[in-house]
Every structure is written in structure tokens, then in C-alpha cells.
């Protein structure tokens, strides 16, 4: 398991993080299954989009 997770790319690690946190938030904040699915999708996509957006904003400073 350590070898598998240790070889994750940055993006894969971010997707795993976003997935687990979004599912937990969905179960914590919503009661019905439909609401949970909707909230999970929204939070998961928001996590990825914000991270990619901030990544692009920081890109010029890495040169």
C-alpha cells in the first residue's frame, strides 16, 4: 500500500484527497441521498477547479 500511494502523482493525490473530504462533507451536511450526491459532486469539482486555478495563478512565479 505504501509503495502504491507513495508513487501517486500530485494530481492523483489531490483527487484522492478531494474525493474523501467531499464524501465526508456530503454525509455531514445533507440528509437525503439525492442532496448528498449533488453536494458531493459540487464540492469535488470545486476542490479540483480551485486547486487547478490556484496552480495556474502560481505558475508564473515558479519560472
Amino acid at each position: 500500500m505504501s509503495a502504491l500511494l507513495g508513487s501517486l502523482t500530485h494530481f492523483q493525490a489531490m483527487v484522492f484527497f478531494a474525493l474523501t473530504v467531499s464524501v465526508t462533507f456530503a454525509f455531514l451536511s445533507k440528509q437525503s441521498t439525492a442532496e448528498r450526491v449533488k453536494y458531493f459532486l459540487w464540492a469535488f469539482v470545486a476542490f479540483l477547479m480551485v486547486a487547478i486555478g490556484i496552480g495556474w495563478l502560481m505558475y508564473p512565479f515558479s519560472q
Binding site: 500500500m1 500511494l5 507513495g6 500530485h10 493525490a13 484527497f17 474523501t20 473530504v21 464524501v23 454525509f27
Partner: protein, 134 residues
């Protein structure tokens, strides 16, 4: 009749609240399992437990109370939120931490996040145990 059943289901006590909160802190999802919230119990066990174990498997750092830096001590409280996993961390992570690499740094954040998420689930279990929440 249905309302009476719902009311009975919601009736809780401080003892129940504390017991499920402690159980949920030791093992993520255990508090909800004792409250017969099967779906939530499974989701929290897989997600919070998975995130914590992934953080350790990625050789993330585990903070201890003895760290001199104030932020490290805050990290200790976050890590402590994982409960039983924190106390088994050195056994799960037999190779030790390696925060010199990005993967280890991510693992540190994942483990701390799992601790904070588990504290949120513990609070929810406590409220359900008290009968304040469905």
C-alpha cells in the same frame, strides 16, 4: 404513531452522547455504528480512516506534543483527532516519516485533515446521541 416512533428514536441522553463520541473518536464511524446509522458509519470509516491511513502510507509526518514549534503543537491536536489511528501510527508507518519529498508532505496534510474530519464526525455523533440531531 410515526411521530411517536421518531420522537422515541430522537430521545437521547448525555451518557449516550459521550459514549458514542468516545467510540467515534477511537475508531472513525464507530459512534454512528452504535447509533445504527449504517450508511454514515461506513462512509466515515472508509473516508476518514482511508485518508488517515493514506497519509501514513505516504510517509507523512506525525506530530507529537513534545514538538517545540507552536504550529507543530497545533498539528498534534489535529493528528490526535484520528484517535486510535494516531496511537497506532508508528506501527502502521513502520518505515517512519519522510517529509523531504512532496509525497510525505501531502501525507502530513492528509493525516491532519483526517483528524479534523474525524472531530467533526465525533461532534455529529455526540449530537445524535443527545437527541438534538437526526
Amino acid at each position: 404513531m410515526e411521530e411517536a416512533i421518531k420522537k422515541e428514536e430522537r430521545a437521547g441522553s448525555a451518557a449516550t452522547g459521550i459514549a458514542v463520541a468516545v467510540a467515534g473518536w477511537i475508531v472513525p464511524g464507530l459512534g454512528h455504528l452504535l447509533l445504527r446509522r449504517w450508511g454514515k458509519a461506513a462512509a466515515y470509516f472508509v473516508c476518514v480512516g482511508g485518508l488517515a491511513c493514506a497519509g501514513l502510507a505516504m510517509r507523512g509526518g506525525v506530530f507529537s506534543w513534545g514538538d517545540p514549534d507552536l504550529f507543530d503543537r497545533l498539528g498534534f491536536f489535529a493528528d490526535l483527532g484520528t484517535g486510535g489511528i494516531y496511537f497506532c501510527a508508528h506501527w502502521i508507518q513502520s518505515a517512519g516519516s519522510d517529509v523531504a519529498h512532496a509525497t510525505g508532505d501531502y501525507g502530513t496534510r492528509m493525516f491532519a485533515t483526517a483528524g479534523m474530519l474525524n472531530l467533526l464526525t465525533v461532534l455529529e455523533a455526540f449530537e445524535i446521541g443527545l437527541g438534538r440531531r437526526i
